[in-house]
């Protein structure tokens, strides 16, 4: 007795036929991990399908719910994927822990094909640890129904916020996840400050006057116009429901906005007086995980996939349109015919400052976050930043 699902038949036969026409290499199977919102999942799945159909190799994609935790536990245990997708800032830490490996000498793609920032982000300590495909950063979003034109300076923006801010009627000036150092980085950097820079003599910049000034500036100019909760969700909700004039947020936010039906515009961040906003940018990489170090067909498969993915203009462009991700492939990034959505973010990227990938950065985030929370709640900013700096130094020991 045999039972067979009729629908499956075609899929199976289709899958097998593709193995026939491959290159000289033996065909391998690689696991690729990613963590995507489910709006972006279908596109990813079809991309993988496309790859599998056109290549001798097979890639098995998996959407992971908590990437950092999963990779931290799975990779050292030999259970991890060949490649996984994440922002470049993990590179230092993971490299030191031996979670990712250098594949520079085996690549068929030159890093020159990418924007400088992206090429730099793909390397750590001279090792090529992954291939970059998109950049992301935060930009200014404005509600077109409330705001006619994107403000150029913070002072302009403040005037508009003043006009719209009215919490008792559920109206706000701005929605920005204040307590997140990433979102606040533009302002912390605006007057020459920095959180951490391992190239500088004083690596920790958290308590430096320039940084404190930037944070203080944000506290003074933005906090009064924001909902009272500095975390992501409520801040995002205010703008997404049309209740805030501005938002400072990244491309991942666009799907929410589209779903809610807000009419928004994207622009680069406004200038503060005497400074320049400079947000952290993140470059998303297909990392080369420890497993690839073992070589063999599966590593080849992963490499082939990453190479295919990051150089596939059609795919990247489609991605850009659908999700607002900024391509880092030079041919696209510099072509100028990016979709309007992406344009705003692309400009913001120009303002940006790549996140440090040094492992020490790991221990910076949480204390700064605590300090920002304090600042948001009206505590003394310099003192909070000083405390954070102390804690970071303590943790570094």
């Amino acid at each position: 007795v045999g039972v067979q699902s009729q629908g499956d038949q075609t899929a199976q036969s289709g899958g097998e036929s593709s193995t026939a026409g491959g290159s000289g290499e033996s065909a391998g199977t690689a696991k690729a991990w990613y963590a995507l919102p489910d709006t972006e999942l279908p596109a990813r799945k079809s991309a993988i399908k496309q790859f599998n159909q056109n290549s001798a190799h097979t890639v098995e994609g998996a959407d992971i719910s908590d990437m950092q935790k999963k990779t931290t536990s799975a990779i050292p245990a030999g259970q991890g994927p060949q490649t996984f997708e994440w922002a470049h800032d993990l590179a230092g830490d993971y490299m030191e822990r031996g979670f990712i490996v250098d594949q520079g000498d085996k690549l068929n793609v030159s890093l020159d094909e990418f924007t400088d920032a992206a090429a730099e982000a793909a390397q750590y300590d001279g090792n090529v640890v992954g291939l970059p495909h998109t950049a992301e950063t935060v930009a200014l979003l404005y509600n077109k129904e409330l705001v006619d034109e994107a403000p150029q300076t913070v002072a302009d923006m403040k005037a508009v916020m003043e006009e719209h801010h009215d919490p008792s009627n559920n109206k706000y000036g701005l929605g920005m996840p204040f307590a997140d150092p990433y979102f606040l980085s533009a302002w912390a950097h605006a007057f020459g400050g920095y959180y951490f820079d391992h190239t500088k003599e004083e690596q920790l910049g958290v308590a430096k006057p320039e940084t404190v000034k930037g944070v203080q500036f944000a506290v003074d100019n933005f906090v009064p116009y924001m909902p009272n909760d500095p975390t992501y969700e409520p801040q995002a909700s205010a703008f997404a429901e049309g209740n805030a004039a501005f938002a400072i947020n990244g491309p991942w936010y666009l799907s929410t906005l589209n779903e809610k039906g807000v009419d928004y515009g994207i622009a680069k961040l406004p200038k503060p007086e005497g400074g320049d906003p400079s947000p952290f940018t993140g470059i998303t990489l297909w990392y080369f995980s420890k497993k690839m170090g073992e070589g063999g067909p599966s590593a080849a498969a992963a490499r082939a996939f990453a190479e295919w993915y990051v150089t596939n203009e059609e795919l990247l462009l489609k991605n850009a349109e659908e999700t607002g991700n900024i391509p880092v492939l030079k041919s696209l990034a510099e072509s100028g015919d990016l979709p309007e959505n992406v344009q705003g973010f692309a400009e913001a990227v120009q303002q940006g400052y790549p996140m440090p990938a040094h492992p020490k950065m790991n221990k910076v985030w949480d204390p700064v976050k605590a300090a920002l929370t304090k600042g948001f709640n009206g505590k003394d900013v310099p003192k909070a930043m000083e405390t954070a700096a102390e804690e970071i130094r303590g943790n570094w020991e």
């Binding site: 007795v1 045999g2 039972v3 067979q4 699902s5 009729q6 629908g7 963590a35 995507l36 919102p37 489910d38 709006t39 999942l41 279908p42 998996a62 959407d63 992971i64 719910s65 908590d66 935790k69 999963k70 536990s73 245990a77 030999g78 259970q79 559920n170 706000y172 909902p227 992501y232 969700e233 409520p234 995002a236 909700s237 205010a238 997404a240 429901e241 209740n243 805030a244 990244g250 991942w252 936010y253 799907s255 929410t256 779903e259 809610k260 039906g261």
Partner: protein, 382 residues
């Protein structure tokens, strides 16, 4: 088997009760009204009852408000959020079933071809079963669900629905959860029942010590889950059994052993010894005593253990997330994979969670009297 017989009968009775509950209420009301009209029942009585019921209802509603809050988000047609920056709204705006439909996805039994090969001949008989479509979410039309209209009077426009192209993988997670929870239940029952019986009825060396350790570990053990995660993970990985649903089930069953053994033991303490003795005198060998008498009589206790162990497998998140790979995600992990770094799709997230919790409530509605009876503390008096 008479145990299942009995449970089946009770469930049937309960179902009847549940269905006839409104009738009974109506009857009750009619009787009361009649009584009041005849002056036999003082009008204060029904008022007191109504007041008490209303009060209780308000209390319950307040308590469950967070759930309602989630439900509103889940019924939202615009992605929903539990952060409503537009102020408190008690009803969903532009209500939509899309999130739920998205969760449930297609309910289609695919067509199968069943072939019967007749031995030592080339003839095969092939049956083609028809495809059965209960719900095809990719073919929904607006205004088809929940619309209420009387003639030309449009009372409710219906839930907004659009065709859904990429429904969730709820069914896969559901299946995974089932295949974790059911082995959990089976394994733990296998471990718990004999132990509970022995602890309740037999006298043996270390008996009190074991009982003591079990009560002690009831909570220490379960809470250690997180603290032990590292150790557990290492061990599992070294033996290569992480990402294995059965291994996970064994772990859950192990954590469930102390509490449930103790619980069932307490319940069995309340079963009169004379039933067993009657069976022994009737000539039943010990294993028949257990299968024919003890187990059926412990039905309520078993139901309680069943529910508790099932819930362990059904709702546990942390360990499952650490150990399982994507293919084997259980419902809670699947639920959490909906969240990405920055955004939570509240409508779908909530609809998913509610769909996931609903069966538990239903099961509890029917198993209630077992569970309440099963938590017998007759052994705890004094």
């Amino acid at each position: 088997m008479s145990l299942f017989d009995g449970v089946g009968r009770k469930v049937k009775e309960d179902a009847r009760d549940v269905v006839s509950a409104p009738l009974e209420v109506a009857r009750d009301a009619a009787y009361t009204v009649e009584g009041v009209r005849n002056g036999e029942i003082s009008p204060a009585e029904p008022l007191k009852t109504a007041g008490a019921t209303l009060g209780a209802l308000v209390g319950v509603l307040l308590l469950l408000f967070p759930i309602y809050w989630i439900l509103i988000a889940a019924l939202s047609g615009t992605g929903g959020s539990i952060y409503s920056s537009s102020g408190l709204k008690l009803f969903p705006e532009s209500p939509s079933l899309v999130p739920f439909l998205w969760v449930v996805g297609d309910l289609i039994i695919p067509a199968y071809s069943i072939s019967l090969n007749i031995p030592s001949s080339d003839i095969a008989i092939v049956f083609n079963t028809p495809q059965v479509v209960f719900l095809d979410v990719s073919a929904l039309k607006p205004g088809t669900i929940g619309r209420i209209a009387f003639g030309s009077a449009e009372l409710f426009p219906g839930f907004g629905v659009q065709p859904i192209e990429n429904p969730s993988t709820f069914k896969k997670f559901f299946w995974n959860s089932l295949t974790v929870a059911i082995p959990t239940v089976i394994i733990s029952l296998c471990l718990v029942v004999p132990a509970a019986y022995a602890l309740s009825r037999r006298e043996f060396i270390f008996r009190r010590k074991i009982l003591f350790v079990y009560v002690l570990m009831t909570q220490v053990g379960s809470g250690l889950g997180i603290a032990l995660l590292i150790g557990l993970y290492t061990v599992y990985v070294q033996f290569g059994i992480n990402d294995n649903k059965l291994a996970l089930a064994v772990y859950y069953a192990a954590t469930a052993v102390p509490f449930n053994t103790w619980l069932l033991k307490t319940y069995m303490d309340g079963i009169p010894v004379s039933y067993e003795e009657a069976a022994v005198v009737d000539g039943a060998p010990p294993w028949r005593v257990v299968t024919e008498v003890i187990i059926p009589l412990s039905a309520a206790g078993l139901a309680t253990v069943f529910i508790f162990t099932f819930l362990t497998g059904w709702t546990e998140f942390v360990v499952a997330q650490t150990l399982l790979g994507t293919e084997n995600y259980t419902l809670p992990v699947g639920l959490f994979s909906l969240i990405s770094e920055y955004s939570i799709p509240w409508a779908r997230f909530s609809a998913f969670a509610l769909t996931f919790a609903a069966p538990i409530m239903l099961v509890y509605l029917f198993a209630q009297r077992y569970i309440e009876g099963g938590l017998s503390f007759s052994g705890m008096e004094g």
